[in-house]
């Protein structure tokens, strides 16, 4: 005898026709399963999560301040001996911390006291600890990626959805703008604008807009174009879909149709493009910081570290660790993000889904 269930038996017409077939899994579950089936994607995901956690919890880690200059210890090789020491200024914050970071920092003081882990990845020319700079640099780099990603998400999705849904002349005009912007060497324009805005530093600061915020927004402005194109294509397809027509017949307003019917169906594509655009945003940040046009000291980012390395290296002295460790950190994270984005795209690809069912 089977256990009694609370569910009423399904009417015959609604029951699955063939009992041998497993119940269809939800699309989200299918995507996760397909993603999980790939070792490369699994490891990439773990790596990215670990890197983000490390960046997020940086104030909690017993690392020296990344900005603490000790000229006497300039260009020390990576060395594991005597790496755990107490230092009087171990608890200096690398820059003014927000309330959340202050709490983490206080927790660190309680847990580790003035102990610090130093010299594991060597020091740079000014004696600053490289490992600490890499970790704190990842924080800034990820923050840029997050802000710029959100900008690209908001602008790109709104632009694409409106153009695709409105159609006709408005669509044409909006996509022409995207085409024109895409044909520009955008990085040149961004650099030009950053240069000009640096002259307005004081006025912008009065509105609470620092150069870094301008930078975030500009980097985001570079990356929304492909998002807008993809979203428009999807929306064009969806606007003709039967369930959207049904909603319109039922008298739903345009805003309601867009928000409850169209945008949720566009989401998978948006997620894929967001994953794929994060590495390119990280690259743009590194690129601009490398040129001295992005993040400014005393803050640090991966691009700045690469630029430091390029300056420190010369035929007389080859501090290889300055090149190898930041590059390794950046390379591994970027590679993982790319692999993850590709895997996610494959997992969400409807063609593959169709092939899998057949």
């Amino acid at each position: 005898m089977s256990a009694p269930t609370l569910e009423a038996p399904l009417p015959r017409a609604l029951a699955p026709h063939d009992d041998a077939l497993p119940p269809p899994e939800s699309p989200a579950c299918a995507v996760v399963r397909r993603l999980h089936a790939r070792a490369a994607a699994r490891w990439s995901l773990r790596l990215v999560v670990a890197a983000v956690l490390l960046a997020f919890l940086a104030p909690l880690l017993p690392l020296p301040s990344q900005a603490r200059i000790e000229l006497a210890r300039g260009l020390e090789r990576p060395c594991a001996a005597e790496s755990i020491v107490a230092h009087p200024s171990a608890l200096e914050a690398p820059w003014a911390l927000g309330p959340f970071d202050r709490a983490l920092h206080a927790a660190r003081a309680g847990a580790f006291g003035t102990l610090e882990l130093r010299g594991l990845a060597g020091t740079d020319a000014k004696g600053r600890d490289l490992l600490s700079r890499i970790v704190w640099g990842s924080r800034v780099s990820f923050l840029v990626a997050l802000c710029a990603g959100l900008t690209s998400l908001l602008v790109g999705v709104a632009w694409g959805a409106i153009a695709g849904y409105a159609g006709g002349r408005l669509d044409n005009a909006m996509m022409r703008v995207v085409d024109a912007l895409a044909s520009l060497p955008f990085v040149f324009v961004v650099i030009f604008v950053i240069t000009l805005l640096s002259a307005w530093k004081d006025e912008l600061a009065r509105f609470g807009v620092s150069r870094e915020v301008v930078f975030y927004v500009l980097v985001g402005a570079v990356s929304w174009l492909s998002m807008a194109r993809v979203v428009r294509g999807e929306v064009l397809r969806l606007a003709q879909a039967e369930f959207v027509l049904a909603a319109r017949v039922a008298g739903a307003s345009t805003a309601r149709i867009l928000l409850t019917h169209v945008v949720p169906n566009v989401l998978p594509v948006v997620i894929v493009y967001l994953t794929l655009s994060v590495p390119s945003i990280l690259l743009t940040e590194a690129f601009l910081s490398f040129l001295g046009l992005g993040i400014e000291p005393p803050r640090v980012s991966w691009g700045l570290l690469a630029s430091d390395a390029a300056e420190a290296i010369n035929p007389l002295r080859v501090p290889w660790w300055l090149v190898v460790f930041p590059s390794l950190a950046m390379g591994v994270v970027l590679l993982a993000l790319n692999v993850l984005g590709d895997a996610l795209r494959d997992a969400l690809d409807p063609r593959e889904r169709g092939a899998g069912r057949a």
Binding site: P185, L291, L335
Partner: protein, 331 residues
């Protein structure tokens, strides 16, 4: 074809015009002149300097002089008059004005010195991208799912993911310090260009390899390739004469973005290897607030990239007549 070309050309010109206009007014809107940071000049000298750069004119006149619908330069013959006068001045006549920082030079002179260097670097990078990317993609497609294919695919993912200054760092450590084959930096001679061209070209080689591999696999599965094989053609001919031209299409359409990317990448590579190209000038101009120089390079590269995109589109229609037909059907 012709209406399409005309329309695209008009669109390109309009884009450049908008860029010039926005850049000009942004530049003028910035508070203070480019000479503020220096020590205070005597009033008379400052007046002279402002007059030399036409900063004493009303903005509309400065704009007209910069863009150049009217030739307002008093050192040349007047508008529509005089002996063999230029009708246009400013950008329309290809004159990007004086540099604000290098006082003795015009932007044109600076670009004249540096552009050949950058173009040489960019062309070699393109050669690297195609020379490595195409064979890699084709071999990977022919030996699909072999160890070679997997290795090449991994390499391509790494090449796309890594920024070029990271690749540059490793290459310099390897081929300059560990095994001294190339000079560390500087410009002069072909040997000095090898490393920069590789650094600049490798990411695009990775893209080209990916594109050509996918296209080649798709083409090789077509019926007409089977027909060609069934006719008894040698495999070489099937691949090179029948499959390759079709597989090249996505690579060709990638050339436009690739050229833009190479120009952008040259900013970093020129700085890394101390190459006196346009990219270094642009970055220095941006850092020194040399607005005319930064603006000149922006305009020049915008024009260059737009024209390249146009050329790629035209070439694409020429190679694949179906597209051209589709385009005229749309009109």
């Amino acid at each position: 074809m012709l209406p399409f070309l005309v329309r695209r050309l008009a669109w390109t010109v309009a884009t450049i015009f908008v860029v010039v206009t926005c850049a000009f007014f942004l530049m003028r809107a910035v508070r203070g002149g480019p000479f503020d940071s220096e020590r205070a000049l005597p009033a008379a000298v400052e007046e002279q300097v402002r007059a030399r750069y036409h900063l004493d004119w009303p903005v509309w006149k400065q704009y007209a002089a910069y863009v150049g619908p009217l030739n307002l330069d008093e050192h040349r013959a007047r508008f529509l008059g005089g002996d063999g006068a230029d009708v246009f001045g400013g950008v329309l006549a290809g004159d990007l004005g004086p540099s604000f920082k290098y006082r003795d030079l015009t932007v044109n002179e600076l670009l004249g010195q540096s552009l050949p260097v950058s173009l040489a670097l960019g062309l070699w990078a393109l050669v690297v991208a195609l020379g490595i990317g195409l064979p890699a993609g084709i071999f990977a497609a022919l030996k699909k799912d072999s160890a070679l294919d997997v290795a090449l695919r991994l390499g391509a993912t790494a090449g796309i993911a890594l920024p070029n200054f990271v690749i540059a760092g490793f290459l310099v450590l390897l081929f300059v310090f560990a095994w001294p084959l190339f000079p560390v930096a500087g410009y002069g001679g072909a040997r000095a260009l090898v490393l920069p061209a590789f650094v600049l070209g490798l990411p695009f080689a990775a893209y080209v390899a990916r594109l050509s591999r996918t296209a080649m696999i798709e083409v090789l599965a077509q019926d007409w390739i089977r027909t060609a094989r069934a006719k008894g053609l040698p495999e070489r001919t099937v691949i090179l004469r029948h499959a390759l031209p079709s597989a090249l299409l996505p690579v060709i359409s990638f050339l436009g973005p690739a050229a833009a990317g190479i120009l952008t990448g040259s900013l970093v590579v020129e700085r890394l290897f101390a190459i006196p190209g346009t990219g270094s000038h642009f970055v220095n101009g941006a850092l020194n607030r040399d607005y005319t120089l930064a603006m000149g390079v922006t305009i020049l590269y915008t024009a260059l990239v737009s024209l390249l995109n146009l050329a790629v589109d035209v070439a694409y229609g020429w190679i694949d007549p179906r597209l051209a037909a589709g385009r005229s059907a749309n009109q």
